[in-house]
């Protein structure tokens, strides 16, 4: 392996080797290499294992599930628009909210991070592929089967009806129909998929780095993915154990959770939340990772406090495993336990705060270039801060006694997850979209959809804080008049439709004919990399190498430099600099 070319040297990418092989041999080698990386055609296309293809399927499918979950949410908002509404029956409403929660958490929020990482991680760390391409494909298909199984059940009126955390004994002895089994079995597939992707990403970050890219030089995105993937690896086993035990109880009557046979319903809650709390950070950290990539680009300078960010991401990961009891504050646990977990839950604000202020410091030290991704980042941060502050409030056990299981918590969790995960994801979508088909997304529609999302989100969820404080419990399919909930719920419903109006606008972003096209050059010999931006044309149409490439890989007889995003900054093109230089 060769040493890095000196920065700024305007040499050709394909420097000849000292002793080039004969041309015939070289052609044969190239052909063999191309064949190995070729994407199958025809119906065999679906047997592809390349990360670019599987990643694209994965992202697309999670977005489909996201839309499905959104439609379920709209159905619920319609039902709650007025007191005593009968748009959905009580039974169907239970199916809808259970699926909405399950789909958004398990079929969108967690897998989208794994999907995006499968798609982009190799490019970011200068690898051709992830270490186990077939494992990625296996995970995707397991995910697709489990997800379709779960979502499809509602069309047969057989969806689970226990809420997304499926507390027994309601879901064991009191719902003998097939719904809970569909949840438990569908989830087995999804759990397998999540763990497969986690293994893939951990090994990918640790073992597929190119020479010269030490662990303290990897893009922050890779660090976040590493932390989140380790969290998946440790958080999912309790859930897997729980789902197996619950299915054993349902199918064979083994009483793990049913007190009639000597079990304890709280065992499920512990197992579920030991998974469930880290899960929030599994969703949140990879989205912060996108922020960590976008902010330095927008600020036009390297990230400030790389080590602080990495350490606080790891700290968040550790702390998140010690907080689960705050989901169980009202189960009658002793005061000392509540106090301990209150303190631990608020402590997570410190590593989160460090990351936040590192981004602020980067903005302060740099010069902000305005762009749509940055709009989403700032909108997300301002929303997430509200979610963080209400999070500190519900972490205080006394206030939790009032807020728990009400719409206040519904508002809090959506503020955290939409502000902390969906806004950054939309920013990332906008930022990285040119890597999919070489086209920028429309700036105009991007701005429009941002404001729709931002206004729609706030109008939907801010009133829910109040309706929760006015006593509205979660998961009610109807409510009576005379409790001052009508106006608040109507406003929430209107907001939900504004939020939903953003999705056609978002989908249209790629169809705006006025957008400029980036011409991305495929790198010879590495077709798998062709969708990743390695080189961009300069204003004269000639290819220039990224200025911050840190190494080179040998491919055929050519030495090919690669560009990566390192702690020195981001080297993916910012959309607003389309057609110009890439830096």
């Amino acid at each position: 392996m060769s040493a890095s070319p000196s920065p700024g040297a305007r040499s050709s990418d394909a420097d000849p080797l000292d002793n080039p092989p004969p041309p015939a041999l070289r052609r044969a080698q190239e052909e063999r290499l191309l064949r190995a990386w070729k994407i199958p055609t025809g119906w065999r296309y679906w047997s592809a294992v390349n990360n670019t293809v599987v990643g694209l399927w994965y992202v697309a499918l999670t977005l489909v599930f996201f839309l499905f979950g959104g439609i379920l949410a709209l159905a619920m908002r319609l039902q709650l628009a007025g007191a005593g509404n009968d748009f959905l029956s009580a039974d169907l409403y239970s199916q809808v909210f259970t699926l909405h929660g399950s789909v958004m958490m398990f079929l969108f929020a967690i897998p989208i991070f794994e999907a995006v990482s499968i798609m982009f991680l190799p490019q970011m760390i200068g690898a051709r592929e992830l270490p186990f391409p077939r494992l990625s494909a296996f995970g995707f298909w397991a995910f697709a089967i489990g997800g379709t199984f779960l979502c499809g059940s509602i069309f047969f009126n057989a969806a689970p009806r226990g809420g997304w955390f499926m507390y027994p004994p309601l879901t064991s002895a009191y719902q003998p129909d097939i719904g809970a089994d569909i949840w438990l079995l569908g989830f087995s597939f999804i759990e397998v998929a999540a763990i497969a992707a986690a293994v893939e990403l951990i090994v990918g970050v640790l073992k597929c780095r190119p020479p010269g890219m030490r662990l303290n030089l990897v893009p922050l995105y890779a660090w976040y993915v590493l932390v989140a993937a380790f969290m998946v690896l440790f958080a999912f086993p309790p859930l897997i154990a729980g789902t197996i035990l619950l299915e054993l109880e349902r199918a064979f009557g083994w009483p793990f959770f049913s007190p009639a046979g000597g079990g304890d319903p709280l065992l499920w809650q512990h197992l579920f939340w030991i998974f469930g709390h880290p899960e929030v950070y599994i969703i949140f950290l990879p989205s912060v990772a996108l922020v960590a990539m976008i902010v330095p680009t927008a600020a036009q300078r390297p990230i400030v406090g790389y080590s602080w960010v990495v350490l606080s991401a790891i700290g968040t990961g550790f702390l998140s495993f010690g907080l689960w009891v705050h989901h169980m504050f009202t189960t009658g646990l002793p005061g000392i336990t509540l106090a301990l977990f209150s303190a631990a839950s608020t402590a997570v604000a410190i590593p989160t705060g460090v990351q936040f202020f590192c981004f602020l410091a980067t903005l302060l030290a740099g010069q902000l270039a305005r762009s749509v991704p940055m709009l989403y980042v700032l909108g997300g941060l301002s929303t997430f801060v509200i979610g963080g502050l209400t999070g500190v409030m519900v972490a205080m056990a006394p206030f939790n006694f009032q807020a728990h299981d009400t719409f206040f918590v519904v508002a809090h969790l959506h503020t955290v997850l939409i502000g902390g995960a969906v806004f950054p994801l939309l920013a990332g979508l906008y930022y990285y979209f040119p890597l999919v088909n070489g086209k920028l997304l429309s700036d105009r529609l991007g701005r429009a959809s941002f404001w729709l999302v931002f206004i729609g989100f706030n109008v939907t969820f801010m009133p829910m804080h109040v309706s929760g404080l006015l006593g509205m419990p979660r998961r009610v399919f109807t409510y009576p008049t005379g409790l001052s909930w009508e106006t608040l719920n109507l406003v929430s419903t209107i907001g939900a439709f504004v939020l939903a109006a953003a999705s056609p606008s978002s989908c249209g972003m790629s169809c705006d004919p006025r957008v400029r096209r980036l011409t991305l050059h495929a790198i010879p010999g590495t077709p798998v990399l062709s969708s990743g931006c390695r080189r961009c044309p300069d204003s004269h149409g000639a290819s220039v190498r990224f200025p911050r490439s840190t190494g080179a890989i040998r491919c055929g007889s050519s030495r090919i430099s690669f560009a990566t995003t390192t702690r020195d900054g981001s080297s993916f093109p910012t959309p607003r600099k389309a057609g110009g230089r890439c830096s």
């Binding site: 029956s89 039974d91 809420g163 507390y167 004994p169 309601l170 009191y174 719902q175 007190p259 079990g263 304890d264 319903p265 400030v304 406090g305 602080w308 009202t330 189960t331 002793p334 005061g335 509540l338 209150s342 303190a343 608020t346 604000a349 705060g353 460090v354 936040f356 202020f357 602020l360 903005l363 302060l364 700032l378 801060v385 502050l389 209400t390 500190v392 409030m393 205080m396 056990a397 006394p398 206030f399 006694f401 009032q402 807020a403 728990h404 299981d405 706030n458 109008v459 009133p463 109040v466 404080l469 006015l470 006593g471 979660r474 399919f477 109807t478 005379g482 409790l483 001052s484 608040l488």
Partner: protein, 323 residues
């Protein structure tokens, strides 16, 4: 506009019997105070953080900004949350021992058990007599009452926002909550943990009374059922027994002694029907007996619509007369 709507709802004087902010109990008052403190502090922090973000994002380039960045990260990310959160924990946690393990005066305690989807209520008086009631709680003002919470089916959660926080009712366990109302009036309690199809229709009226009014009410409730006052009601009483209603319901002083459904000894005196789902009126009583599922989906009570209007009205007249 949104802010106006929210503020007017938060501070308005509409009927809000389930509000956690219109406190009528010592614990709820304390929690509401904690809430307002936290909300105020959160608002200040949010404005400060967003202003700082705007400054960092839009402001002119700071000279030697690099020199300030460690200060920003350590100050804003570590020092500020550490100080604020320590203060908050010191402010909020000392009330925990009283909220969780409050000393019980030993005068009155109530055992509430969650059912799908109604409340079994038993008053345990100091004299030793237990009074079985259902779907309504009345409390004497200014006295701390111990409520023991159980469930023999699924998990429910007992919550009277105006008086105190909620505590779950977990099968196989007995949990406790103590209530200390500070204001008379009529409030509302509800189930806060999803407990099946009609979870939304599992509420109960809560009435806080002066001491003598409470004692009078409890004495009345401890009596056996009144004899029917009209011939229609007397016919209803016969129908009640003939149709097997007594297999599930108890009416003290009659042969009806079932324990599956709610005790109906004084059902006519209650403020609502079917766990605060319907007003306690003749027409609703008739509909409820004829078609319980219409008011409460998946209700476990069988429908008695086959009895016909005349018999249903007789039954309803009998039950409404049980004051």
């Amino acid at each position: 506009m949104l802010v106006v709507v929210l503020v007017s709802t938060l501070t308005g004087c509409h009927a809000r019997p389930l509000s956690a902010l219109d406190a009528a109990g010592r614990d709820a008052e304390e929690i509401a105070r904690l809430f307002w403190w936290m909300t105020g502090a959160a608002a200040i922090i949010w404005v400060a953080v967003i202003s700082l973000t705007m400054y960092c994002a839009r402001g002119p380039r700071v000279q030697n900004a690099q020199r300030f960045t460690p200060l920003l990260i350590v100050g804003g990310g570590v020092a500020l949350p550490a100080v604020v959160l320590t203060a908050l924990l010191a402010l909020g946690l000392p009330s925990l021992p009283r909220l969780v393990d409050a000393p019980w005066t030993g005068h009155l305690s109530i055992a509430v058990s969650g059912e799908q989807w109604w409340w079994r209520v038993r008053y345990l008086t100091p004299a030793g007599g237990d009074i079985d009631l259902a779907n309504e709680i009345r409390l004497p003002i200014g006295e701390r009452v111990d409520v023991s919470l159980t469930s023999d089916n699924v998990i429910h959660s007992f919550w009277i926002p105006a008086i105190s926080g909620k505590v779950d009712m977990i099968p196989g366990r007995t949990t406790h909550l103590s209530l200390e109302p500070t204001r008379t009036g009529t409030f509302r309690g509800t189930c806060a943990e999803y407990c099946g199809t009609s979870h939304a229709l599992m509420a109960f009226p809560v009435v806080v009374l002066e001491h003598d009014a409470f004692d009078r009410w409890l004495a009345e409730q401890s009596q056996p059922a009144q004899a029917p006052a009209t011939s229609q009601a007397a016919r209803g009483g016969e129908l009640f027994l003939e149709n097997g209603c007594g297999a599930c319901h108890t009416i003290r002083g009659t042969p009806a002694a079932g324990v599956i459904g709610p005790d109906l000894t004084h059902v006519g005196s209650r403020m609502s029907l079917a766990a605060a789902t319907l007003p306690n009126e003749m027409a609703h009583m008739v509909n409820w007996i004829a078609e319980p599922e219409r008011a409460k989906p998946a209700a476990h009570m069988p429908a008695f619509g086959m009895l016909g209007a005349e018999q249903l009205h007789a039954l309803a007249a009998y039950l409404i007369g049980l004051r």
